[in-house]
């Protein structure tokens, strides 16, 4: 969508300056979302149309955000007609090389992954002092730079490098092949003993046998932005407990209409398709006590605990995108992605095609998942750090504070980005990365508590 044309029926739009346009977009978005949540699809449609005149994927930050959020809202509406939805999506081509590119750009241009890797590596190095056999399980093995750095440091150990084995898990074989190649080449160059074992699998269907964890080796697990997808579940069990909870006085949400609306929409859709379009387990307002148990997550954490890793480093988005209602999630996501889009705006030009690809294929897809999907389809269930801390603690893990030295390296890295919007701070031994004041990512390290 391009900027408003001269012939638009709303001539005043021409005069909208960027700020006003931005504010307008925000209001329109919220209006539209309300309509969608309430099931008022006609008005939602009108709102979408209005937004389309102002939003643009190559405009300023707010225009871009609006573009992707409305795409997500439209996607949500469309899912009510699964036939239509499938027809539109069946001819999509997913390009592996594009995915590679987008990942690379995200890695290079924004510091979050690099900081996460630096902190992960440092925690591993410290945990593995004097270990001779080190086995690392990499739950989303796609960026060789992370382990290349580790190889360098380990090869320079005074007692000599350990025998290092990395088991990389990823859905795509090509990605793992690339990892294997880059890493083995580097290890050979450094002349250190190294082995890469690829495991082609989705995380949630991971067969732990394939990891070949041996007794006697020192195990480290690295999870970068992976755990949250394990919180998704088939919601049928939870649906009975949580749907239409407007009656529950303990739950903090706006009473009456919207919640009912959500339920109504859900029921409506269900009648249409017999599909459980239900609110997912709420992990926000029911808190203070404990995060909602997710069977899948718990069983994974138990399994990891059973492997007795020496160290497990978890990097996650630090936002609450797992609220049970659309509006909750939309609000949170607006803030988080506004920050992320601002990050991109500060480092890449508006005409950059790569930036647009990251916005569309990475952030846009996450937004779509948060807004448009429910149940087991909704994978981007980001949660705040305190929830993760509770969850990991319950699963028998003890926090290992990230070291001062790791923080130092991380800060240095951020300084190198030359952009003072990035913030990093330590809290309870964990690290939070923010843009301005908005926390975006957290890194924490854990060990098995016996």
């Amino acid at each position: 969508m391009t900027s408003p044309s001269l012939g638009s029926p709303y001539p005043w739009q021409r005069e909208l300056k960027s700020e006003e346009r931005g504010l307008c977009l925000i209001h329109l978005l919220l209006t539209c979302a309300n309509y969608v949540a309430a099931g008022n699809l006609e008005n939602a449609n009108i709102a979408l149309e209005q937004i389309s005149l102002l939003a643009s994927s190559d405009g300023d930050t707010m225009q871009r955000i609006a573009a992707y959020f409305t795409e997500a809202l439209a996607d949500r509406i469309l899912k009510a007609w699964p036939g239509l939805y499938k027809a539109l999506y069946s001819t999509r081509i997913s390009s592996v090389s594009e995915e590679f590119l987008v990942r690379k750009v995200f890695f290079e241009m924004l510091p979050f992954l690099k900081v996460a890797y630096v902190l992960t590596n440092q925690a591993i190095i410290e945990a593995m002092e004097e270990e001779k056999m080190v086995h690392i399980i990499d739950l989303n093995s796609s960026e060789p730079a992370q382990w290349i750095a580790l190889l360098h440091v380990l090869s320079a150990r005074p007692e000599g490098p350990p025998h290092l084995r990395i088991t990389g898990v990823h859905q795509r074989k090509e990605v793992l092949d690339q990892m294997a190649h880059s890493l083995t080449e580097e290890a050979e160059r450094l002349d250190t003993p190294f082995q890469f074992n690829p495991v082609v699998s989705k995380l949630e269907t991971l067969d732990f046998e394939k990891l070949h964890v041996k007794t006697g080796e020192a195990l480290a697990i690295s999870s970068v932005l992976q755990f949250h997808s394990l919180l998704s579940s088939d919601d049928d069990f939870h649906r009975k407990k949580f749907s239409l909870e407007s009656k529950n006085p303990n739950r903090v949400h706006s009473p009456g209409v919207l919640q009912m609306g959500q339920g109504t929409l859900g029921e409506l859709l269900e009648k249409d398709m017999g599909k459980g379009y239900s609110p997912s387990p709420d992990s926000t307002s029911s808190s203070p006590l404990s995060p909602v148990g997710s069977v899948k997550m718990d069983s994974f954490l138990n399994a990891f605990w059973g492997l007795t890793p020496k160290i497990m480093v978890v990097t996650e988005q630090d936002s609450n995108h797992n609220g049970s209602t659309l509006m909750e999630r939309l609000f949170e996501a607006l803030y988080s992605y506004a920050a992320l889009f601002d990050c991109l705006e500060s480092t890449m030009s508006r005409t950059s095609l790569e930036r647009m690809k990251v916005e569309k294929m990475l952030f846009g897809e996450e937004i779509k998942n948060i807004i448009a999907c429910e149940g087991s389809e909704r994978k981007e269930r980001h949660e705040k750090l305190e929830k993760w801390i509770q969850r990991l603690d319950l699963a028998g893990f003890g926090n290992v504070p990230l070291s001062y030295y790791g923080m130092l390296q991380a800060r240095k890295l951020l300084q190198g980005y030359g952009c003072d919007g990035y913030r990093i701070r330590e809290e309870n031994g964990c690290v939070l990365m923010s843009w301005q004041d908005r926390p975006l990512f957290s890194v924490s390290a854990w060990r098995c508590r016996k």
Binding site: L16, E20, I26, H27, L28, L30, T31, Y35, N43, D60, T61, M62, K104, M109, V118, E129, E130, E131, M133, I148, A149, H152, V153, A156, P158, E159, G160, P193, G216, V252, S254, G256, V257, L258, K310, N320, M327, E328, F331, E332, A338, A339, F341, D342, E345, T347, S349, V400, P401, S403, Y404, Y405, L408, Q409, G416, Y417, C419, Q436, D437, R438
Partner: protein, 456 residues
């Protein structure tokens, strides 16, 4: 014993291949001297390095197969129907021979430390003064003597003993010694988990054996497992730096220690060099690390396990530090397809703030804050009040043109008043000025309240 490439070459001992035993009675058992004490009557022989390192010097001209001894070559030649001749011992009594190492700096160069065995001296020479050509695939240990390598291959990777702390040993004695100190270690490590600002400043030489021990003279190369024995003896010695852990002579067994110090050194050195606030010589870096009361960030950066550094000594191989000091901050940084963790200079350039060519716009974050502020200010409590919650507890940064907003960050459960749709929309629209027309356009159909979910 085989032939020696001496001027007056010699005797053979014991070969009976030709079937000619020159003795009528079984030869007397060879008398062995006590180890370390060569026979004073023995003839001292110094062979040339070439001889000592030589293998397979006797080559068959037909098939080019090499043999270590002439005898064996001769026997082989029989197979080709070539003329062959076996030499026999010239005398029944031979003078005992002992061998010294030709390398003058070597201990065994002294005749009182001569070795009695030719094979022994050959192996010694190769091990100590030769090039390590044999490498273990699994753990990349290197050996100069093939038989050493073979012996290692039998045990490499077949660990038998495992301590609770996870260390593996293939030898029982080293395992037991480690374990004795390891229990002490286990408690320490539970406390030492919190690495916060650490104690480089308290150089207490406690026998926290497992982790915190200090480098003995050259850092032990990846040697036989006995080196894993952790010894509480602490003495820092300067040493070569980690980039050539191999090829060094094994340290005297008593002080073999493992250390994490040099890691600290390399990492902390990296810190200082990379943060650029040291004078960029590695020696100064080390000095600051080793100084007990260093207040700089190098000290704090060290792990608690490094607290046992006792003395300060200048590290001679200052230059050797450079490569390792690069390891953390620049290794990834040597771009590997341009993917690095620490950006190099030119990458930084094109990552600079590119706002100038673009129309200056309010950041999205600022816009959201402003929208919330406007919403909060609106009298009829428009739906944007809900914005006032999710963000930080500290005052947000002043953006380009927004006023700073104070968020209500204590509001976890405030209910929100709902409005009639027209009222809310109108209010909000009024706040926006130009968009009022737009929003009123939307108000068709059944009114939808803009009630908002409060997100905690």
């Amino acid at each position: 014993m085989g032939d020696l490439d001496l001027d007056n070459s010699s005797s053979l001992v014991g070969s009976t291949a030709s079937g000619e035993a020159t003795f009528s009675e079984p030869p007397a058992k060879k008398k062995r001297n006590l180890p370390g004490m060569p026979d004073p009557e023995a003839e001292v022989i110094a062979l040339s390095p070439k001889t000592l390192m030589a293998t397979n010097r006797f080559v068959c001209e037909i098939c080019n197969k090499g043999f270590q001894r002439d005898q064996n070559l001769q026997l082989h030649r029989r197979g080709h129907n070539l003329p062959w001749k076996l030499r026999q011992r010239t005398t029944t009594e031979v003078r005992k021979r002992v061998y010294v190492c030709p390398e003058t700096s070597c201990v065994h160069h002294n005749p009182t430390r001569a070795l009695g065995d030719l094979t022994g001296i050959k192996k010694h020479f190769c091990r100590k003064h030769g090039e390590k050509k044999w490498k273990c695939e699994r753990c990349s240990k290197k050996y100069a003597v093939q038989s050493d390598w073979k012996a290692h291959m039998k045990t490499c990777g077949t660990r038998e003993y495992k301590c609770d702390c996870g260390t593996l040993f293939s030898r029982r004695d080293s395992f037991i010694t480690h374990r004795a100190f390891c229990d002490a270690l286990a408690e320490e490590s539970a406390k030492a988990q919190t690495l916060g600002s650490s104690q480089l400043a308290n150089p207490n030489p406690s026998p926290n054996a497992g982790k915190a021990v200090v480098v003995a003279s050259p850092p032990p190369p990846p040697l036989t497992p006995s080196n894993n024995v952790v010894s509480p003896a602490l003495s820092i010695q300067s040493s070569e730096f980690p980039e050539n852990p191999v090829g060094l002579s094994p340290p005297p067994p008593a002080t073999t220690c493992l250390t994490s110090t040099t890691t600290a050194i390399s990492t902390t050195a990296t810190t200082t060099t990379s943060t650029g606030n040291c004078s960029n010589t590695s020696t100064s870096v080390f000095a600051s690390i080793f100084a007990p009361s260093t207040a700089s960030q190098t000290s704090a950066a060290a792990n608690s396990s490094y607290s046992n550094i006792v003395s300060s000594s200048a590290i001679p191989s200052a230059s050797a530090m450079e490569p390792t000091s690069l390891s953390l901050s620049t290794s990834l940084y040597l771009s590997n397809n341009g993917s690095t963790l620490f950006p190099t200079a030119d990458q930084q350039d094109h990552r600079q703030y590119v706002a100038s060519p673009q129309a200056p716009a309010m950041s999205a974050t600022a816009l959201l804050q402003k929208a919330a502020q406007m919403g909060a200010a609106a009298t009829s409590g428009s739906f944007l009040r809900g914005f006032g919650l999710a963000t930080s507890s500290s005052p947000p940064q002043a953006q380009d043109s927004t006023t700073s907003l104070q968020w209500s960050n204590n509001s976890h459960s405030h209910q929100h008043k709902r409005d009639g749709s027209g009222g809310a929309a109108a209010t909000v629209a009024a706040g926006l000025g130009a968009s009022s027309a737009l929003l009123t356009d939307l108000m068709m159909g059944p009114p939808v309240p803009f009630g908002v979910i409060i997100s905690p």
